[in-house]
Symmetry: C2
Subunit: 586 residues, 2 copies
């Protein structure tokens, strides 16, 4: 039995020392984010995770959601847990106080989101989606729309869902066919959407669907898509709920994981057409979506961090408990717990060091996001935004790949028990496996990094980051040879991406995935090395933690960072071999 | 929809050119293994795989096995498929003609086993276990036992099961508690065994359990364990079936994958004690088990090869079919299938090149096994046996890790559909995931390699293999720089293992897992490079295949072999950091 505990020590360390919480608390509107308040928030969130969400995680997976006559029932206890969640105000943390939000930094809700996803990823998806929908509405919705929907979504009294995918339009949103026709001031929506997370459920009386659709006569492709608010239940003028809108859940999917979260097929407008309200202007739906997507991608990246942490905790508890074999060189017959065996130690260090590295990077980017939004010095804000843009696909893809890898190692530590569902280790893998796919596959993230974030700007921001990492290393008390080599490798690969993207974008993109991993381990490695320098300088403040961090960083340097050279070669020498391969030879 | 087709072209290429089929056919008793006959066997086996086993794979997974009142029912169609399988004589291929076997080389049944596991891994486990049990009996059983059981097991009229694991004795067999007490000429067995694959099922009237148990007064630990034949149904003197033995299946496990294969909890001797027949001598059970284990480990390694092939075929079919996005640089709105996208090409090449590499290694070792058993020149036989001993843990662990990795990439190629169970991609992953665990976890394999196969003999065989690879490279028409570097890295790491094992075995074993991977990619890479040289010399014989092999080998060299340096550093510099880490810091 493993009980999830929020890793408050590492979370607070990263918030304070790596992600810039103290500076962010000086930004306008963020005065409440003091060290004490943040520590108290993490503590309370941890309790909710441990006491309420974690106990429902395995039962939710095995029970799953049911679908009957258009009605979705979530597993036993989820509805009550959701009520407790919104009663505690957890849904509203990063949102605008004008609409009932708490106006806390994104960085702080990053930490609490990690807790929800670690304790119960299926549950955590509901606030994740509602948050994305609320953000879209905040940024682009009219005051009229906001006044009807936003406060309820921020409080969590109503949830939100994101309706992008259709059977023929997954990664390729240009192929969306759902229609929106004018009807007075509003629109009538008709079409089918698939893979709609929490598209239907029993938590709340209303669900606010954000739906991408085409208006008649608009441009073809990606530039002819608009965004609509389509509520499950129409809202009367006095704010009370009225008639059901013309939309329904047709079925839910039978998935590999996140089984406690319903993934709906949604049918809009089978009869008179579902009433939809335009967000912003026609044909700008994709553009609006992109403003929200960065945060959603960071949020999915966090799922990777979270599952990795949870899988690590479970594996560590098992390794300490499971007695098997003797210590090497011990001639007595005394059985030891498997945590004593060198390869089990190695696996645990692999799990923890990678988890800490992706956490450091995710929080670092979240901190930059707050600076980008609030800093009064526009140069500082711009630089932070450039780092956010560059690193968001890295957080999304690298963290979720790490989530899968760490959960996979967690199964291995359990041996045969790892393959038995009741143990719980397999669920972490099955849950983690969606994160590299949704919110833009990790291949799409890598393309975004190589093409939009590096290629199109000639690598300016990437080189700025490389310089900053070099300068930071040079200022350190110790030298870090593996880290320096990784930065050199990243620089070579970046130069190659910049040059190649200009003359041969196809080949540049063939190198995108190994390039993204190289950037992930290098920037993550840099934050790990920085962490080590800090805990060694402040040993009094972090007495036990310093040794643990040393163990993590040492592992990361000698196992993970040593991949850097090979990855750079894969990028610079391998990519052309992909492009040259004929389809018949695949 | 993807239909499995046995990859006959690559299989036959590897059999003929890499694994030494022509030489093996000259060994005594193997005269039937001519090129034509082997090609015909592969073709017929492929038909059974495609027409009978593959169509039951997904339905078997979703239906699963049921357990009621001690009776296990396998999914619809499995019993009939098994009958067809044994009627075709497929169970008896590598066994002694004296007991009804066909006496074909192990190498040939290696290829057919790949087909069974690829088409339906849950099904393939039944002959795998029966084969292991039959081999134990052939090698160590008395003539009396053989005359009662062996022919029926070789034909498949009865199946076999291996009963090692108990709740407290997984990797650590020294902790076995199951008891065997004398009762006249025989024994009475009592105890609980878990994780017994096909421990109970509805394919056949009898199941021959091979059970490890302790006799009273024997030594403690691993040296006090004996091996028994314990039939489900007792056999009368005339060979007819008699009374039920005192054993039963108490339950079957709810697993992550291989759901169509029952994994039983077995209870022996709840009443008067189950009648068991000693195999060989008392207290030598573990020793006997080890003689069989090499083959079983190769067989599990093959499961990795097989699932990788199946996952590749499914992903390739999907990538060709799924239209999404435009070709890079194409300004038209024309949608292309995703196989055109560079990262999808890369993923497919990653899947296929790794699959071909693990196949080459597995068949190469199987070929050596035949030489070891049959070669009349004892030096040749000894050398072959030494290579088999060295490389068996590598085949088991590396191939099964590759199986998991390739199946994981297969999910990714499917995007959102990969996470939906009906697609079938997720099943390959879930099935593949057991193979790194059972038959000795991959960590145990790595320990076996580093300690028993390298450390204890001072690296003699490993160095012989390294010399052979170097000489082979030097004799090639082209130079292969990445391959040479990988061999150098393997040599450095081998020297380190040899030196360190002597003075500090714990640290040596901390490096075992990355060392095993390094050996896998290096030896597998060498066989890939050899393959390339051969197809280029014999382009007329392998016209299309030569280009495909070039694409695979190029990928393997630039992506997989470039890991070698980093792995060597992890071994030689990382291992001490594992040993130095205190338990409190894990």
């Amino acid at each position: 039995m493993s009980v999830y505990r929020a890793p408050a020590e590492d979370m607070l360390f990263v918030l304070e020392e790596i992600a810039g919480r103290p500076d962010i608390a000086t930004l306008p509107g963020f005065e409440d984010a003091s060290a004490d308040i943040v520590a108290a928030i993490i503590e309370e969130a941890g309790k909710l995770g441990t006491d309420v969400l974690d106990p429902l995680n395995q039962s939710g997976d095995s029970e799953g959601c049911t679908f009957e006559n258009g009605v979705v029932r979530t597993p036993t206890g989820f509805k009550e847990a959701y009520q407790q969640f919104i009663d505690g105000g957890w849904n509203s943390m990063p949102f605008d106080p004008e609409y009932g939000g708490q106006g806390l930094p994104w960085l702080i809700s990053t930490a609490t989101s990690e807790i929800w996803h670690a304790a119960n990823m299926s549950f955590g998806l509901c606030p994740l989606l509602t948050g994305g929908a609320a953000e879209l509405l905040s940024e682009h919705g009219s005051d009229a729309l906001k006044s009807v929907y936003l406060e309820k979504m921020i409080s969590g009294v109503w949830t939100g869902s994101m309706n992008l995918t259709e059977p023929h339009a997954g990664s390729d949103l240009a192929r969306i066919r759902t229609k929106a026709t004018h009807d007075g001031d509003n629109y009538r929506i008709s079409g089918q959407k698939i893979f709609i997370t929490y598209g239907e459920h029993d938590f709340t009386d209303n669900i606010v669907h954000m739906v991408l659709a085409r208006t008649p006569g608009g441009p073809e492709g990606i530039k002819g898509i608009s965004l609509f608010v389509v509520p499950k239940v129409l809202v009367n003028e006095d704010g009370s709920l009225g008639a059901r809108n013309d939309l329904r859940c047709a079925s839910i999917e039978h998935k590999m994981g996140i089984n406690a979260s319903p993934t709906a097929v949604m049918l809009y407008g089978e009869n008179e057409g579902a009433i939809g309200y335009l967000v912003g202007e026609e044909n700008r739906g994709i553009e609006y979506m992109f403003t929200m997507m960065n945060n959603a991608r960071l949020a999915v990246g966090l799922e990777g961090v979270a599952i990795a942490e949870r899988a690590y905790q479970r594996a560590r508890a098992f390794a300490e408990d499971r007695a098997q074999g003797r210590a090497i060189g011990d001639k007595s017959q005394e059985v030891v717990s498997i945590i004593h065996h060198p390869d089990v130690k190695r696996m645990l260090l692999s799990m923890r060091s990678q988890t800490e590295a992706v956490r450091a990077l995710a929080y670092y980017v979240a901190g930059n996001l707050d600076v980008a939004h609030r800093h009064e010095n526009s140069d500082a804000a711009k630089k932070a935004q450039a780092f956010v843009d560059l690193l968001t696909p890295v957080v999304k893809a690298w963290s979720t790949d790490v989530g899968v890898d760490v959960a996979n190692t967690g199964i291995q530590i359990h041996g045969g028990m790892g393959f038995i569902e009741e143990t719980g280790a397999a669920q972490h893998f099955r849950d983690a496996r969606i994160a590299p796919i949704y919110e833009g596959t990790n291949g799409i993230q890598a393309n975004d990094l190589a093409a939009r974030k590096i290629g199109r700007e000639g690598g300016v921001t990437a080189k700025q980051l490389i310089s900053e990492m070099r300068a930071s290393l040079e200022s350190m008390a110790s030298s870090h040879a593996r880290m320096s080599s990784a930065i050199d490798a990243l620089e070579r690969a970046t130069d190659w991406i910049v040059e190649t993207y200009e003359k041969d974008p196809e080949t540049a993109l063939a190198g995108a995935v190994p390039y993204l991993r190289l950037m992930g381990i290098t920037v993550g490695g840099w934050l790990m090395v920085r962490s080590l320098e800090i805990v060694q300088q402040k040993r009094d403040q972090y007495p036990d933690f310093a040794d643990r961090k040393l163990a993590s960083v040492r592992y990361f340097a000698r196992y993970t960072l040593t991949e850097a050279e090979g990855l750079a070669i894969a990028v610079t020498e391998g990519s052309s071999s992909i492009t040259q391969t004929a389809l018949k030879d695949l």
